[in-house]
Subunit: 670 residues, 2 copies
């Protein structure tokens, strides 16, 4: 590590940028040294600590964001085994998500049906500041959206679009009882409160571009989201957020960068100022202002998509307005705290007293004090304001600075035992430091360029300080090579003792940014094994084979089909013609765990369906040529699964082949 | 296991079907017993045997089919870690596959652009009967296709549609020097050799439905595929295939079921006959007949899609005819061998003498002898024919029957040490038996309902008898629950000793059917780290920032953009109007390993791009409303990745905003 360590002192900006550019080279040069370093950091019984015996279960669920795959990956911890990919913002042909008639609406936005997004931050719902295992909230970064996953079914059940936002990055952070999840814009954009198209010249960036922070109310019982209000903010870039706890639980904090308002080449332009800001928002007070009628209404156009739990059909509602608060009219609601330039993570410790801000280009980690902040507010210890938002004095809010932590601090989590752990992107290490005296206690190299890190509950009042997972941005030689495109990589670290010990490298799907880790016993008992056929309220469900049928109205044909081991009913259909629109409404009649049936038909310009027991899913098919089209079950369901197949005859347009359907001799031709 | 074992004797068909239907119930009742059984089967040092120390590499690559996700999953063995998902037949928004302008054509078929398929069988290319690590061939089951993955880049480089086929299941099996890969239809369909639409009444199934086996020539140097000829076969269902070796290497074998030609309720209808057939095809002789002009030409319409390795652009060619052989005209080319009803796997042992056929409903595993088959052919020891194809006498070709192997045999692989291993779906076990005396030597329970199994090289002349992977169809309680939809599950078994020992359970992506496992040293050295920018022949590539630009022709706008840490050029674009068609041609200028850049623009009804170093990828965007649209790099590439962003201004139609683009001060506005 020596080469990297020598860079760890306070560097002028130019040198720091140069060191970052050179890093990949340094990493390769340095591999020998780093490997030696690693060996001494390994746990001697790592193999047995991560091995989960066949048939036994992992201790924890890890919910890792999929980043540019738009999904959530569920891992077993400590084994690092991928248990499931939950489709959220991205089409998932594997089970028909985003392709089936039921799920398509989930991806509706004001821009159209958007088949992809960039999912950065999963956050578990909380009760009394602790994860409760009910829901997982996640953000869509590209087309601003927040989604909710129900952890009883591991399904995305709700997606809410966020207006007046672009690059929905500092999202979705919950308050301590999930009263709200908040979302913030990363990119400032023109916002016209009269509803006219928000277009402006790019040379008007400094004057016309603004930002919004969104407060989404969460229903205590159902989890349903509702965009309660927005706060209009100066046109900075808002990067990350986190809520307070205990004394600070009425507050939520956002890091900002590009307070320079550089509209181009931000790489250099957004790194000019020595300090950017931490925006501190009193959400309780904001809520009060809204209740008092201080919010104004503006036209807006955004989608709210919900999955009905009985019919399993997603429906969109188009919202037409949003209310907003202007901080200049709302005294005491927002303050700006100077922080080292280009900050990334803001993390509050379990006590709620400390706000730790990681400045990507900073050589120290400032730890701000909530009580000092309150005093500074009371004392009006301001050094100025931005658009009516008071700026507090850095020194008055600062509690301590962690010195020489490493290069490129990004994120901090806590172990509940008085320690903090910060990821160092540039020097590729995790650094453990004390919340008592703010000195560095330990450091462990990671491979390579760690982004976020996570400790189970490490962002809550009640961390479980046994494991830490480092999610690394560069993989290179860590696994067998797979061509130019590599998996990202996570590392599991034992933090139960004084010294951190490396346990396991595990490759991850797409690009995990943040993650949440939770004890299995908070989630597993909620898990549903199948859907009750009795409760299936899908309008095209058939609950008995005897009700299976085919109906034609004009050129729309509906196949009311059932699937059960090992046949589908009907399995032979004639009388479909080129140009018809055919809907296969397939109901899986099974009522047992782990017996999905799949459905596919040859040549469909669509995905398959994967139908869970008790559910109905629909595939739309418009045949374009005559012929015989086999259909079959795509999920090996039984010894005679290969026999679970049938045919559809498609006749040329204009030829009158009568409608006829049957399965064996059970249902004679009509 | 006692409950299950008692069913292991020869059961009448009805009882056997009943036992299969009851199986999931039996499994749950039996879990206690099975757990005890498992404990005794565990390797005592399993943890250390599967643990791969951080930074060390797995010994083997495992290529598991993704089944209904249409992709290939690459696992490290023995760790069971998922190293990569290679998109093949299915859109993969994560890297833009099937969405980008370059890759879209890869999914073209005669039915249209098909965004999904069901991928069952990966097969590695072979030289002299051994895997050579060059290419991986895979089948698309639903819309008949064969794809080739290049193992130097882990990319799908070619997809060939198969005409006259439906349910392309017994595919793609290579000959010993990859002269051919073969593909066979699972579902019989009408085939009109005059090119008229092959439509028929479903009640004409027995008379009009036929099958084809396809022989795809593989270019020795480039790997390029070409559909050389088809053999027209009786209208059975063709299930699985495998080639001979050594003495039998001129032959390839296909299992058939539904020789009853039941067109409906195949679950029962296709299980009437006591015997179905193994079709033995002399491909060398077929090739000779084709060269002698015996093949007839018929009109056909199928797509052949190839990725150009320098431009990285996929292009489709539409083929208009195919030649075919009729076995009745080609003496000695095809024979039918009776086998127990409803066979699934056909596997030839490393010596090439034995053909092992697994009858799903059979109580024995018949082992046929190639030399006996040759003698029977020579002696014309036929018991009849089907459409001119001679049927050999079962007893004359049979070498031995493995007695009491278990219930529901599906597939067999070999360890190269004189042993065979067969998967038992119904009794959920792997059974090891001797190729010397054909007795059962060992059995190990698996969890639950194993489909395929794989041994590294276990289907070749040169198996590596250290590991076996069982790919199980039912998961239930094996991992932490994830709602109704569960991962499938694989089990790694140590077969290096006399007794099989269970090492590891690992969940798998979608539904692995078959897999290939190969020594890392046959693949890793070929792996390319990035694409050479110099060789990039994409017509819209820009290789220097100074060449980056935006051009308009009518309402088509092309952005010739570059990406390099940590900015894109241009990063500000004005003069785009609602209704324009905008192409972002993004070239990644990096020339280092593991530095992809991503590209996304807000609200695009498209996926992202993930651009490998040296490559160019294109996102098509048609803005539908005015506004400011941020674009950004989606793959955390550097410390200032968050600053790698820019804006596009979209003006209303009819407003004349002039074209203007820049990045910082490097490129002033034009």
């Amino acid at each position: 590590m020596s080469t990297i360590q020598t860079l760890k002192t306070k560097l002028p900006k130019a040198a720091l940028l140069a060191s970052m550019a050179a890093l990949p080279f340094m990493q390769s040069c340095d591999m020998g040294d780093r490997a030696t370093a690693q060996a001494s950091m390994m746990s001697s019984d790592a193999a047995s600590k991560v091995y989960v015996e066949p048939g036994k279960h992992d201790e924890l669920y890890g919910f890792l964001s999929g980043g540019y795959n738009g999904q959530v990956s569920v891992y077993g911890i400590p084994s690092g085994r991928l248990l499931k990919i939950v489709p959220v913002f991205t089409q998932h042909a594997e089970n028909g998500y985003g392709y089936s008639e039921e799920s398509k609406a989930m991806l509706n936005t004001s821009f159209g049906n958007v088949p992809w997004d960039d999912l950065h931050h999963p956050k578990l719902s909380r009760t009394d500041g602790q994860t409760d295992g009910r829901w997982l909230f996640v953000n869509g970064n590209n087309t601003p959206r927040i989604a909710r996953i129900d952890l009883s079914t591991f399904e995305t059940v709700e997606i809410l679009e966020i207006p007046n936002s672009a690059g929905n990055h500092c999202s979705p952070y919950p308050t301590n009882n999930t009263e709200y999840v908040v979302a913030g814009t990363r990119f400032s954009v023109p916002i016209n409160t009269d509803g006219t198209p928000a277009e402006a010249g790019l040379d008007e960036y400094k004057e016309k571009f603004r930002a919004s922070l969104s407060f989404i109310k969460v229903d205590k019982e159902s989890g349903d989201m509702n965009l309660d209000f927005q706060i209009m903010m100066p046109g900075f870039d808002y990067d990350l957020a986190n809520g307070g706890k205990g004394p600070s639980e009425d507050w939520i904090f956002f890091t900002t960068y590009n307070t320079e308002k550089a509209g181009t080449l931000k790489e250099a332009g957004a790194s000019q100022n020595d300090k950017d800001f931490l925006a501190a928002v009193n959400w309780k007070l904001a809520e009060k202002y809204v209740k008092e009628g201080k919010a104004k209404e503006m036209p807006a156009n955004y989608y709210h998509n919900k999955l009905d739990k009985n019919s399993h059909i997603a429906k969109s509602e188009v919202k037409k307005s949003v209310r907003f608060l202007d901080p200049a009219d709302c005294p005491g609601m927002v303050y700006l705290i100077p922080v080292p330039k280009s900050p990334h993570g803001i993390d509050t410790d379990p006590s709620g007293e400390y706000m730790v801000v990681s400045g990507k280009l900073a050589s120290v980690i400032p730890v701000h004090s909530f009580s000092k902040m309150q005093k500074a507010i009371k004392d009006k210890d301001f050094i100025g304001d931005v658009a009516g938002i008071p700026i507090l004095r850095y020194e008055s809010v600062l509690h301590a600075e962690v010195k020489e932590p490493g290069l490129g601090p990004l994120h901090t989590e806590f172990d509940g035992k008085g320690n903090a752990y910060t990821s160092m992107f540039v020097s590729s290490e995790v650094v453990k430091w004390s919340l008592k005296d703010f000195t560095v206690l330990d450091r462990i190299p990671v491979y390579y360029s760690v982004g976020h890190l996570v400790i189970p509950g490490g962002d809550t009042k009640d961390p479980y300080g046994k494991y830490l997972i480092a999610m690394n941005k560069i993989t290179k030689d860590r696994y067998l090579p797979t061509g130019p495109e590599l998996a990202h990589s996570a590392q599991l670290i034992d933090i139960s003792g004084d010294k951190m010990k490396l346990l396991l490298d595990f490759p991850t799907v797409a690009e995990p940014h943040y993650a949440q880790v939770i004890h299995a016993d908070k989630v597993a008992p909620r898990s549903v094994k199948f859907y009750e056929l009795e409760k299936n309220s899908h309008p095209h469900a058939v609950k008995k084979e005897s009700e299976a049928r085919v109906e034609r109205k004009g050129n729309v044909v509906r196949v009311y089909q059932t699937a059960i081991r090992s046949h589908m009913t009907p399995d032979n259909i004639e009388g479909i013609h080129v140009g018809d629109t055919v809907y296969f409404h397939v109901t899986n009649l099974e009522q047992d765990w782990d017996v999905p049936h799949g459905f596919a038909i040859m040549g469909a310009t669509n995905a398959e369906l994967l139908i869970m027991p008790g559910a109905t899913q629909t595939l739309k098919w418009v045949p374009t040529r005559p012929g015989i089209f086999p259909m079959y079950c795509t999920d090996f369901c039984s010894a005679l699964h290969q026999e679970m197949q049938g045919y559809v005859r498609v006749s040329p347009k204009g030829v009158n082949t009568p409608l006829k359907y049957y399965t064996g001799e059970q249902k004679p031709a009509l």
